[in-house]
């Protein structure tokens, strides 16, 4: 289409006209501006992180001090315990990691980083958030309906989840399912927007390999999500019918098969972990390049590893089902594919580490978070290998070892990666600088307790402690481990306390932090070439950026300064 410039001029005319639409709060809710929608996702995700964190606090207190009343909550019954862990797992993945890493950062950064003024489908974008908000309301209210919230784990295995006689939460389980399905729809709509925006709305001159890593990774993740969620969506319909119409898709007494759900779930579930991993990796890479003042070590290599990870992730799902009654010979195939996936991910980690070589590393708060991501994620990654080795998983399955493994991947991704991105783009988003000292206190106050929560859980897992049990006093072999559980819980309370520094920092900086200039970190990518915060339309219409080079030209020998923005003519 050669008519791009002609129509852009046409669009300019429109852009200069006054907007007509609802005013006040309604205007905010009905805005189609990608930055506003990003903020809606960000704050909804932040709120849900507090909900999920609070749930973790409640059930960890119950584990450390079983049968005692938990401050701010009360006594935890077994049914409530199950509902809490189910809610915690589902919320942290579907309503924290996904909305913040993909939707919030994706909406905010993709248009800004590719030099566009908005998404290509602004109204679908708004619809996506509205459906998401609906799913939030459904999942939150499901916790308070008669019978209580769903307690069948975030994996929702039938027949337990399919039959109210078994789970005793007739309303809760259906509402959980509906909420998850709505969330999927929201992210399908959002994903189509991200993908087409990246494909079509790039600034003039921006070639495929000039795109920064954040848009790339979010778009690869969206494609991965889109291609893996379908079967589970169909599965959700079947499960909903089983729950409410009395069909028997997953009921063995009526010709169904409970293991079918597990296949549908994990065919999505495993790619899903990379769906949240990739955006976090993209954020970390951009931050590392900026603060190490270094060109990326192998831009294309990173892209290939991301795509290879994505492709491989479709062939590993049954490693969650080694002992679920599948044919034991099948396990061998999945052991091979699972271990193979360590190669691209190892390479990804090595490339990030190698980028530090020859750098000029500045340990600002966002950089601390980004580096912590690498250091901690490695623990989560290598412990995945124990589980991928079928012979070892025969013992480790469903123990706290699995739990520690995936918190060492998810926490770096969803919490550390988010804090990295949040502190890095805060000046752009809110036009103010954050306080470095408070930021560092918050950083160390989060990272140190984090390790003290989850390292002990590896030990518990190797010791044979199973997941999803509300009270270990019933198991003689596990009783002597109580001090370890208490250690983990106390560390959590310490970590939660240090989050206050974060909120204090955010509120303080927002109101009276020093004004941020356009490009406080001296970074190359396009979002730093506009005002902080960017105006509606991101750039004045006649100053839309053009791109002349890749995003990571730091310390280029031909240049006086140690950075070279993408939009500066040669």
């Amino acid at each position: 289409m050669a008519h791009a410039s002609a129509t852009e001029a046409h669009a300019h005319e429109h852009a200069t006209q006054e907007h007509h639409g609802p005013q006040g709060i309604l205007k905010y809710l009905w805005s189609t501006d990608h930055k506003v929608i990003a903020m809606q996702y960000l704050f909804t995700g932040m709120f849900m992180a507090m909900v999920g964190g609070f749930m973790a606090y409640v059930f960890r207190m119950q584990l450390a001090f079983p049968g005692k009343s938990v401050p701010l909550f009360g006594y935890v019954s077994p049914g409530e315990y199950n509902a809490l862990i189910t809610g915690h797992g589902s919320i942290m993945i579907f309503w924290v990691a996904m909305p913040v890493l993909i939707a919030a950062f994706g909406n905010y950064l993709i248009p800004l980083m590719i030099g566009a003024d908005d998404m290509v489908f602004p109204r679908i974008n708004r619809l996506s958030y509205q459906i998401f908000l609906l799913s939030v309301l459904v999942i939150l209210s499901s916790l308070f309906v008669k019978g209580g919230g769903f307690g069948g784990a975030w994996t929702s295995y039938p027949p337990l989840s399919a039959n109210a006689d078994y789970n005793l939460t007739p309303l809760g389980s259906s509402m959980w399912l509906v909420a998850v399905a709505l969330e999927f729809v929201a992210f399908l709509l959002g994903g189509i927007n991200f993908i087409t925006t990246l494909m079509n709305a790039r600034a003039p001159g921006m070639k495929a390999y000039d795109i920064p890593m954040v848009p790339w990774m979010i778009v690869i993740a969206s494609i991965l999500f889109m291609l893996s969620v379908g079967p589970l969506f169909a599965g959700a319909i079947m499960l909903f019918f089983d729950q409410n119409l009395g069909t028997g898709f997953f009921d063995p007494t009526r010709g169904g098969d409970p293991v079918l759900w597990q296949h549908l779930f994990w065919f999505f579930g495993h790619p899903e972990v990379y769906v949240v991993l990739l955006p976090a990796v993209g954020i970390v890479i951009d931050i590392v390049a900026t603060f190490a003042r270094k060109k990326l070590f192998g831009y294309k290599t990173l892209l290939y590893t991301a795509v290879a990870t994505g492709v491989l992730s479709f062939f590993v799902w049954a490693h969650h089902q080694f002992i679920a009654g599948i044919d034991p010979r099948m396990a061998n195939i999945f052991t091979v594919t699972t271990l193979l996936i360590s190669v691209p991910i190892a390479e990804m980690c090595f490339v990030i580490i190698a980028t530090l070589y020859g750098g000029d590393i500045r340990l600002k708060v966002p950089m601390l978070w980004a580096l912590a991501f690498v250091g901690e994620f490695l623990i989560g990654g290598v412990t995945g290998i124990f589980l991928g080795a079928s012979g070892a998983d025969a013992y480790l399955h469903e123990t706290y070892f699995v739990l520690a493994h995936f918190h060492y991947t998810f926490f770096p991704i969803a919490i550390i990666g988010t804090f990295a991105g949040f502190t890095y783009w805060f000046p752009k988003m809110f036009g103010r600088m954050m306080n470095e000292t408070l930021g560092k206190i918050h950083f160390w106050g989060t990272i140190i307790p984090f390790n003290f929560i989850f390292i002990p859980l590896f030990v518990l897992g190797l010791d044979g402690q199973q997941r999803r049990i509300y009270n270990f006093q019933n198991f003689p072999e596990l009783q002597h481990l109580q001090p370890v559980r208490i250690l983990a819980t106390i560390s959590l309370v310490v970590m939660l306390f240090f989050q206050l520094f974060f909120f204090w920092n955010v509120i303080r900086s927002w109101r009276k932090g020093p004004k941020a200039e356009k490009n406080p970190w001296k970074s190359n990518t396009l979002e730093w070439t506009t005002e902080s915060p960017p105006p509606h339309g991101n750039w004045p219409v006649d100053e839309m950026p053009k791109v002349y080079r890749g995003p990571y030209e730091y310390n280029h020998p031909d240049r006086e300064e140690d950075y070279w923005p993408q939009n500066l003519p040669a």
């Binding site: 019954s77 077994p78 199950n82 069948g152 784990a153 295995y157 027949p159 078994y166 005793l168 007494t253 098969d257 409970p258 003042r293 270094k294 070590f297 192998g298 002992i323 679920a324 009654g325 034991p328 396990a331 061998n332 052991t335 271990l339 190669v343 190892a346 090595f350 490339v351 190698a354 070589y357 750098g359 000029d360 590393i361 340990l363 250091g375 490695l378 623990i379 290598v382 290998i385 124990f386 991928g388 080795a389 079928s390 012979g391 070892a392 025969a394 013992y395 399955h397 010791d463 199973q466 999803r468 049990i469 009270n471 019933n474 198991f475 003689p476 072999e477 730091y554 310390n555 140690d562």
Partner: protein, 225 residues
């Protein structure tokens, strides 16, 4: 390796522990290497007066080596781990040694029901012994178990045996174990199965031949004689 933490009480517990140890050594090596290089680089290339960054694209052959060689070596480690894992998996889950006794284990919300042969040594005869939440077995005998479930998915887990297997309604899953130590151990349910999941524990009593024979004799239903 785990015996410091938890008893090894079955014939294959040692193999599993050995596999975990092998993986620990291999990935541990890479982990320490990667973290070591990582922290060293952060220290070595920290920003300080007089220090400037370099312009490296990562495309230079002699630099790319630093990624390509580890890449190949990780692949080699993967192959070693796969072979070891499948070897152990074969022993534990694919191979089915001839049974001295066959028992039936049934999970239900929220109890374990064990059915084992009475004095005649045959399963599914009138003198079978049914117990709930407690299983008596004889040391150094090979047991095959038929695992079933009456309602939802449960998981028959005996940590000291390093044994774990889902019980799926509608299926009968066959597995085996061979106790090697006497004592009383935990049986757990390892799949979330409803509000009683946390109390679905049982006990496993491994006893020597004399005790076990006596137990069987005592518990064989009289009516069947």
């Amino acid at each position: 390796m785990l015996h410091g933490l938890i008893t090894e009480a079955s014939s294959f517990a040692g193999s599993i522990d050995w596999l975990i140890f092998l993986v620990l050594v291999l990935v541990g090596f890479w982990f320490i290497l990667a973290e070591g290089v990582f922290f060293w680089l952060i220290f070595r290339f920290r920003s300080r007066p007089g220090h400037t960054g370099q312009y490296l694209t990562g495309k230079e052959k002699h630099i790319k080596r630093w990624i390509n060689i580890p890449h190949a070596l990780v692949l080699v480690c993967d192959v070693v781990i796969v072979i070891a894992a499948i070897h152990v998996w074969y022993i534990v889950k694919m191979d089915l040694p001839p049974a001295d006794y066959t028992i039936r284990v049934t999970g239900q919300q929220w109890a374990w029901v064990f059915q084992q042969p009475g004095e005649d040594g045959q399963l599914d005869t009138p003198d079978d012994i049914f117990t709930t939440d407690s299983l008596h077995v004889e040391v150094n005998k090979t047991y095959q178990f038929l695992l079933e479930s009456r309602d939802v998915i449960h998981d028959f887990s005996v940590p000291v045996f390093r044994l774990k297997q889902d019980a799926v309604p509608g299926r009968t899953i066959t597995g085996w174990f061979r106790p090697t130590k006497t004592g009383t151990f935990d049986v757990q349910c390892a799949k979330l199965c409803g509000i009683g999941h946390g109390v679905m524990e049982g006990s496993l009593v491994v006893e020597d031949q004399a005790h076990h024979t006596a137990w069987v004799a005592k518990n064989t239903p009289a009516a069947a004689q």
